[in-house]
C-alpha cells in the first residue's frame, strides 16, 4: 500500500507551490474594500518585486504581468535596414549596432518598457520597435528613422560653387574634414548666450580635441558646414581656432529641433540607413475596455465550468476544480517569471491548454467510472483508470507539443515564424501543455489518492 508519508509530502509540496504561485499572481497593488457583515476593511496590499541576491548572482523580476500591445495599447514599428553598402561579414554587427543606437534613442524618448529587437526575414534585415503607451507614431518614426550622420565639412575649393556666394551647400560641393558626430563626447540643447536662440552645445572627446583645433585653425575666415545626413543645418564662418574642446552648432533651430538633434548626437549615428515598413498604434483605453469586459466574460464562463464539473462528477469534480486552480495560478506565475508578454493569441493558447487540462481530468474520471461499473474497488479503479487514461493523455499532449514547437520555432529558422503573434500563441500553448501534464500526474493523482481512501 502507499506510504502515507510520501503522499502527504506531495500534498505539502502542492500547497506550497500554490501559495507561491498565488503570491506571484497577485497584482502589485491590490486595494481591499469590504464594508459588509459588520467588517470595515480598507487596506492597500502591495506585493513587492522579487529580488534575490546571493553573492554575485542576482535575480530580479518585477512580477508585473506584461501585456502585449494589442492588449495594453501602444505602437509597433518595423524598419528595414539597407545593408547594400556593407559587406556580408559586417552585416550582423552593423544591424546590432543600429539596434543599440535605436534603443538609446528610444530611451531618450523616455518610453518605459520599450522593446527594440532585430529580426531577419528572408534576405531582409529588420529592426522591430515596440513602444507601449505611445500613440503618436509620427514623432517616434522621425526620431528613430533618421540615420543621423553628422558631418563637419568644408567648402570644396575646386568646385564651381565655391566662388558663388550664397550658393547652397551640398555633399557634392563640400569635403569632409574628418570630424564627425563620432568625435563628440556629449551634446546638449542650450541657448546662445548672446542671441538667446536655441543651439546645440557639445563637448569633444579628448582624443579629438587636437583634430578639431587643427581644422578650425585651417578654416579661419571660412565656412565650416555642419551636415545632418544630406542636409546642411548650419554653416558658420570660423572666427578663431577652437581648442577648448567645446563648441556649439547654431542655426535657425527651434527648441524641439535642438533637443532632437542633441538626442540624435548622443545616441550615435545609425551605421545603416533604415526605412519604415510597418507601423501600428492602438489606443490604450480601447484595449483596456475590451480586456475588462473579456475578463468579466471569462469569469462567467469559468463559473459555468465549475458548476458543470461539480454536477457531472460530484466530489471528483471538486478535486478537478482544485487541480485547475493550481494550474491557473502556476500558469500565471510562469508568465510573470519568464516573463512572457501576453497577447491575444497568447490568451488563445492558454484557453486551449486550459481546455486540454480539463479534458485530462475528465478522461481520468471517465475511465475510473468504467472500472467502477465493472465492479472494481475505488482504489483499484482509480489506479487502473489513471493508468489507462494516461496513454491517451500522453499521446494527445505530445502531438500538441509538436505543433506548438514548430510554431514557436525556438531555433529561429527563417522560413518559419521568427516573431509576432503566432509565436505568442505557441509559447503559451507549450507552457500550458507541459503544465497540464505536470498537474495531471502530480496534482490530480495525488489529490485522488489522498481523498479516495474508501475501499
Amino acid at each position: 500500500m502507499f506510504k502515507i508519508n510520501s503522499l502527504w509530502r506531495k500534498l505539502i509540496v502542492i500547497i506550497l507551490l500554490t501559495i507561491a504561485g498565488a503570491y506571484i499572481s497577485l497584482p502589485s497593488n491590490l486595494s481591499v474594500n469590504i464594508h459588509q457583515f459588520g467588517l470595515n476593511i480598507e487596506k492597500n496590499i502591495t506585493r513587492p518585486a522579487l529580488n534575490i541576491q546571493v553573492g554575485s548572482f542576482r535575480f530580479f523580476r518585477d512580477l508585473n504581468l506584461r501585456l502585449g500591445l494589442d492588449l495594453a495599447g501602444g505602437s509597433h514599428l518595423e524598419f528595414e535596414g539597407d545593408i547594400s553598402k556593407i559587406g556580408t561579414e559586417d552585416q550582423a554587427s552593423a544591424m546590432d549596432a543600429a539596434r543599440e543606437a535605436i534603443e538609446r534613442r528610444v530611451n531618450i524618448f523616455g518610453v518605459s518598457e520599450a522593446q527594440v529587437s532585430t529580426s531577419k526575414v528572408g534576405s531582409s534585415n529588420r529592426i522591430v520597435v515596440e513602444l507601449p503607451g505611445v500613440k503618436d507614431t509620427q514623432e517616434a518614426v522621425n526620431l528613430i528613422g533618421t540615420t543621423a550622420r553628422v558631418d563637419f565639412r568644408a567648402v570644396d575649393p575646386t568646385s564651381t560653387d565655391s566662388t558663388i556666394s550664397g550658393a547652397p551647400m551640398t555633399l557634392e560641393n563640400t569635403l569632409s574634414t574628418g570630424f564627425t558626430g563620432q568625435d563628440l563626447l556629449r551634446a546638449k540643447s542650450a541657448f546662445d548666450t548672446t542671441s538667446g536662440r536655441p543651439i546645440v552645445s557639445f563637448e569633444i572627446k579628448s582624443e579629438s580635441i587636437k583634430k578639431f583645433g587643427d581644422i578650425t585653425t585651417n578654416l579661419v575666415g571660412q565656412r565650416l558646414v555642419v551636415f545632418l545626413d544630406e542636409r546642411a543645418i548650419s554653416a558658420p564662418v570660423v572666427q578663431t581656432p577652437i581648442t577648448t574642446g567645446t563648441g556649439q552648432i547654431s542655426g535657425q533651430f527651434t527648441t524641439e529641433e535642438t533637443k532632437a538633434l542633441s538626442g540624435l548626437l548622443n545616441s550615435g549615428a545609425l551605421p545603416v540607413p533604415i526605412k519604415l515598413i510597418e507601423q501600428r498604434s492602438v489606443e490604450a483605453s480601447l484595449g483596456q475596455e475590451a480586456v475588462q469586459r473579456s475578463f468579466a466574460a471569462a469569469g462567467v464562463g469559468l463559473a459555468m465550468v465549475v458548476l458543470f464539473m461539480i454536477l457531472s462528477y460530484g466530489r471528483l469534480g471538486v478535486l478537478a476544480i482544485m487541480a485547475l486552480v493550481v494550474y491557473g495560478v502556476l500558469a500565471l506565475s510562469i508568465y510573470k517569471l519568464v516573463p512572457i508578454v501576453l497577447t491575444l493569441p497568447g490568451i488563445a493558447g492558454f484557453i486551449l491548454s486550459f481546455g486540454m487540462t480539463v479534458d485530462t481530468n475528465i478522461l481520468i474520471f471517465e475511465r475510473m467510472k468504467e472500472e467502477l461499473r465493472a465492479g472494481r474497488s475505488w482504489r483499484a479503479s482509480m489506479e487502473t483508470g489513471f493508468g489507462r487514461a494516461w496513454s491517451s493523455i500522453r499521446d494527445a499532449n505530445v502531438a500538441t507539443v509538436i505543433i506548438a514547437f514548430i510554431l514557436l520555432n525556438p531555433f529561429n529558422f527563417s522560413f518559419l515564424h521568427t516573431s509576432g503573434p503566432v509565436r505568442g500563441f505557441a509559447i503559451t500553448l507549450i507552457i500550458g501543455v507541459m503544465l497540464s501534464l505536470f498537474t495531471g500526474i502530480f496534482v490530480t493523482r495525488t489529490l485522488l489518492r489522498l481523498f479516495t481512501k474508501r475501499e
Partner: protein, 294 residues
C-alpha cells in the same frame, strides 16, 4: 450503440458543410486584412450623432481612390481601410476635416499601417509551419500507433475542420465584413491543434481495443471506442463551449469574431473525431479487406 451504421448520415452532414464552405470560398472569397494585403486601417471615434454619409464623403474627398472600405461599428466608430501609400498625416488631416464639417470631436482610436512586402511572409510562414507540422504528426502517429493509416485519416479529419472554418470566414467576410488577420490565423491554428488532440484521444481508444480484443472486427471495436469516449468528448467540448460562448456574448467587440471562430473550431473538431475520423478508418479497413478477398 452502432454509430458506424449511420455513416451515410455523417457523410451527408460533412458533405453539406464542406460543399457550403467551398462554395462560400469560391463565390465570396476572403476579406483579407491589411496583414496580408498591405495598406492602412484607421478607426475614427466620433463623439456625438453625425450624418454618416457626410463623414464618408469627407474621407473619400481626401483619400480618393485609395479609400478601400468604410465600415461603421456602432454609431460612433468608423473603421476605414486605405490602400498602400496612405500616411498618418493624411489620417490626422481627415480627422480634423471631419471635425470641421460635422462639428463633433474626432479621435483616432487605432492606426495601423502595413507595408506591401511584409504581408506575404506571414501567410507563407504559416503554411510552411502547417506542412512541417503535418509531416511531424504523421511520423509521430505512425511510430506511436504502429500504423500509418491512423495518421492519414487524422489529417483528413483535420482538413475537414479547416475547410469548414475557412468557409465560415468566407461567409462572415461577405456578410459581416470580417477580415482575415493574424488573430484569425491563430484561430485556425487553435482549431488545428484541438481537432488533432481530440482525434488522437478517440484513435488511442481504438488502438487499445484492437490490441486487447484482437479477434473482433474493426467495425465493432470502432463502435465501442466511440461509445467509450463519447461522454468524455461531450463533457470536454461543453466546458470549452461554455467558456467561449460567454466570451462571445459578453466579451469585448474586438475579439467577437475571433471567439466565434474558436467556437466553430471546437464544435467541428469535436464532431470530426468520432464522426469523420473513425468512420473513415473503418471504411478503409473494409475496403482493404474486400480487396484482399479478391
Amino acid at each position: 450503440m452502432d454509430w458506424i451504421k449511420f455513416r451515410p448520415l455523417y457523410l451527408l452532414i460533412s458533405g453539406i458543410a464542406i460543399t457550403a464552405s467551398v462554395y462560400a470560398m469560391v463565390v465570396w472569397g476572403f476579406r483579407l486584412g491589411i496583414d496580408f494585403t498591405g495598406g492602412s486601417i484607421v478607426e475614427y471615434h466620433l463623439e456625438g450623432n453625425v450624418d454618416k454619409s457626410k463623414v464618408e464623403a469627407v474621407i473619400r474627398n481626401e483619400a480618393k481612390d485609395n479609400t478601400k472600405a468604410l465600415r461603421w461599428l456602432g454609431d460612433d466608430n468608423l473603421e476605414s481601410r486605405f490602400g498602400v501609400g496612405f500616411t498618418q498625416e493624411q489620417a490626422k488631416k481627415i480627422g480634423s476635416n471631419i471635425s470641421d464639417i460635422v462639428s463633433v470631436k474626432v479621435d483616432i482610436f487605432r492606426y495601423e499601417e502595413v507595408g506591401p512586402t511584409f504581408s506575404q511572409e506571414i501567410l507563407k510562414k504559416t503554411l510552411y509551419a502547417v506542412m512541417l507540422t503535418s509531416i511531424g504528426i504523421l511520423v509521430f502517429i505512425g511510430l506511436q500507433f504502429k500504423d500509418w493509416r491512423f495518421g492519414v485519416f487524422a489529417i483528413v479529419a483535420l482538413l475537414h475542420d479547416i475547410i469548414i472554418l475557412s468557409g465560415t470566414f468566407a461567409f462572415l467576410g461577405h456578410f459581416q465584413g470580417v477580415e482575415i488577420d493574424i488573430l484569425v490565423v491563430t484561430a485556425f491554428l487553435t482549431t488545428f491543434s484541438l481537432s488533432l488532440y481530440d482525434t488522437i484521444v478517440v484513435y488511442d481508444r481504438l488502438r487499445e481495443s484492437l490490441v486487447r480484443h484482437a479477434g473482433e472486427s474493426m467495425y465493432m471495436l470502432a463502435n465501442r471506442s466511440v461509445t467509450e469516449t463519447a461522454v468524455r468528448s461531450l463533457n470536454t467540448s461543453l466546458t470549452s463551449i461554455f467558456l467561449l460562448l460567454a466570451l462571445f456574448l459578453l466579451g469585448g467587440d474586438s475579439i467577437k469574431w475571433f471567439t466565434f471562430a474558436l467556437l466553430v473550431g471546437v464544435i467541428s473538431g469535436t464532431y470530426s473525431s468520432p464522426f469523420v475520423a473513425v468512420p473513415l478508418i473503418v471504411t478503409w479497413d473494409q475496403i482493404r479487406k474486400s480487396w484482399k478477398k479478391n
